[in-house]
Symmetry: C2
């Protein structure tokens, strides 16, 4: 495993908390001897238990070919530290050559799926597609069940994010190379 | 119009930028003489042009009844200032009485739909449901076309967020009354 720190398992019923605050994601995929990684802001939780997600993957992408062929993908949640790589995989195409090398990203094996996970991320959701051909064809929309989830214990444990170092914070994409860092946490009392 | 400041129209092709960074949303709805507002973190952009969104609305909610009856809803994007009200409408049910009053929220008329918009928000997307009964019934998932979009010009103009005052920043929900503020912006050069 080439991740800087060993990911810790997240119970599936808490997997939605990795996505709930709307960070940008990296979609990793593999089929046969090809694998790829792309950026996706249009990803969200869809259900708690069993944990499900929804993500939009355009027809023109290599990722689309790989996830339709394999029925699997992972949603990886990058930190501020790999924002440059995140932007690169959002602008290059895997059809033009190995995007992992071109973007400077490394992968490590997932547990339940064949798609690899992205090293340097702070959260990972291993997903198996729930086949819905109409959604896929008409809206580029993929629904999937989360079959395993992981987090970097420096920033997520016991079902909660606890960011310190700004470089390990999750990020939110706007457009044109502009991101926001996930900012300070605050609690609202439930009077 | 009871909004603190007059919303400015956002071109529909740029409406996704209101949602792209994954803020929590308030779903407002109306049918006949009833209207309601609920919180939803599971909302995302689905397409650029025509602009579309996806949102998860549970079967148990009054909002679900109102949007299925009317075919319309609005996604309102609250600021830090109304985080307490956002949490309240996420915990109360409209079935128990007028949630607007109970949560201390006010509304103002939308332009293209009958559902009202939530005053004090910083972005608004007026949406018409694209009927997909299978998604609605099986996944509580609603797809919709954005028919009008608005933003508070103090924090969003020319297709970009430009936050200053922390109280006008958008917010991201985690769980149990915990939120993150949208943090500092940064740009990654596209070398």
């Amino acid at each position: 495993m080439t991740a800087a720190i060993a990911p810790v398992a997240v119970p599936l019923a808490k997997a939605y908390r990795l996505l709930n605050h709307g960070p940008v994601t990296l979609v990793s995929s593999a089929h046969g001897d090809r694998s790829n990684v792309m950026a996706a802001s249009w990803a969200m939780a869809l259900d708690f238990d069993p944990a499900k997600v929804a993500v939009v993957v355009d027809k023109s992408t290599l990722t689309r070919q790989l996830i339709e062929a394999s029925g699997e993908f992972a949603l990886n949640i990058p930190s501020r530290r790999i924002a440059p790589e995140t932007l690169k995989v959002g602008t290059l195409s895997g059809k033009d050559g190995d995007k992992w090398a071109a973007a400077g990203l490394e992968s490590f094996p997932a547990e339940r799926i064949t798609a690899p996970l992205v090293a340097g991320c702070v959260g990972w959701l291993e997903c198996r597609i729930i086949p819905e051909p109409h959604n896929q064809q008409r809206y580029d929309l993929f629904l999937a069940e989360v079959v395993a989830a992981w987090a970097d214990p420096r920033v997520f444990s016991d079902g909660h994010w606890h960011f310190g170092d700004d470089m390990l914070r999750t990020i939110h994409y706007v457009a044109g190379g502009s991101f926001f860092i996930t900012g300070p946490a605050f609690d609202v009392g439930t009077e």
